[in-house]
Symmetry: C2
Subunit: 191 residues, 2 copies
DNA sequence: CTCGCTTACCTAGAGGTATTAAGTATTTGC
DNA sequence: GCAAATACTTAATACCTCTAGGTAAGCGAG
């Protein structure tokens, strides 16, 4: 009996493909073992448990997403950078819905802060450079941007915009206009 | 053997309590049956299947959330209304994390459009009345508001803001300032 | 009041997933 | 070419979902 050559990396990669095909919630240890032609318990030599698998998948997705955003951001500033970040973010979610869903799970504090999550925060701060915001406004703006991007993509994916004729792309574009406007003219507290 | 008096309504209510206690993903038919002191199959007289139960729970949560928001919105306009809506929304998510998670699942198009989902859209439009936006700007603004609220609450619940000293309440307050500012001065397309 | 219908609930069981324990086979390093 | 490490196996437990078929409790009509 030849070995299947399973490693944690190949498992995570396969889990990512599976997630995009059947949805994150249907990524199971069993389905993954089936895909590799081995029995379920075989996978426990490589992963701790199902939760560990999901966290590895989340880390993969966050890293891929950060790579995309970083590439899109290169050489841009101001609204250009804002649109590039947002576009890369939204496109990734559309192309890889399962991975995007995985990226939303709460990963344990240590690995989250250490790993890819901090890259996202740093890149969002990079966008803001051109807008010249000082702390704590910068942190507030990072949170606002992240919330809007994630919220929009999240609602769009859940079908929240599909029952209305207005094009989701158009609304997205206007949302970016609005964010740019608010960043250029960041309001003082309690207007 | 006395009857337990299970009905679809009591099941849904219990499922909501269970969701807040153990998380939406841990709301199972078995756990619910246990809570009512009956066997698992007994519940299938009242609900179609596990998915049906989740959808009833989602509908309950959406209705409760809409009720809260409607109450908060009464007699307010402009930024006052904006803050009231946002506060009710965020508070509900904090008090009832399981129900809030349930409210995010994709329910089938018919029941979604017919039921509570449309109430949310209508109330968000009510906020905008004072800002006097015309279509399609109004739809774009509705989507922006919803995205921001949902995104912020979602990231906050996932612990996205916990690794930074800046208070999540303060950032939230500034986000509302920013949204108010952008609504009062809605930018034309492609600034 | 009791007969019979409806409905709530049960037992039995099949099928899927997660996980541990303990064993066999395969590869690798010396 | 052997020993140690590791990949993978079967076996078994536990939980969850759901169907089929049966029992019993409550209710309306005679």
């Amino acid at each position: 009996m030849a070995r299947a050559g399973v490693t944690a990396e190949r498992l995570t990669q396969a889990a990512a493909e599976l997630a995009d095909e059947v949805g994150f919630e249907n990524v199971t240890v069993s389905a993954l073992a089936r895909r590799f032609g081995v029995t379920d318990p075989s996978l426990y030599s490589h992963i701790k448990n199902a939760q560990d698998l999901r966290m590895r998948l989340a880390a993969l997705a966050l890293t891929e997403l950060a790579d995309r955003v970083a590439a899109a951001l290169a050489g841009r500033a101001g609204k250009d950078a804002l649109a590039a970040f947002a576009g890369a973010y939204r496109d990734y979610a559309k192309e890889h819905p399962g991975r995007y869903a995985a990226a939303q799970i709460e990963l344990d504090p240590e690995s989250a802060a250490a790993g890819p999550a901090r890259r996202h925060a740093e890149m969002t701060r990079a966008i803001l450079r051109a807008y010249e915001l000082q702390e704590p406004d910068q942190t507030d703006a990072v949170r606002l941007l992240h919330s809007t991007f994630h919220g929009y993509v999240s609602l769009e994916r859940a079908g929240g915009f599909s029952h209305h004729p207005r094009d989701a792309d158009a609304s997205w574009s206007r949302a970016l206009d609005a964010l740019d406007s608010v960043l250029r003219n960041w309001p003082p507290a309690d207007v």
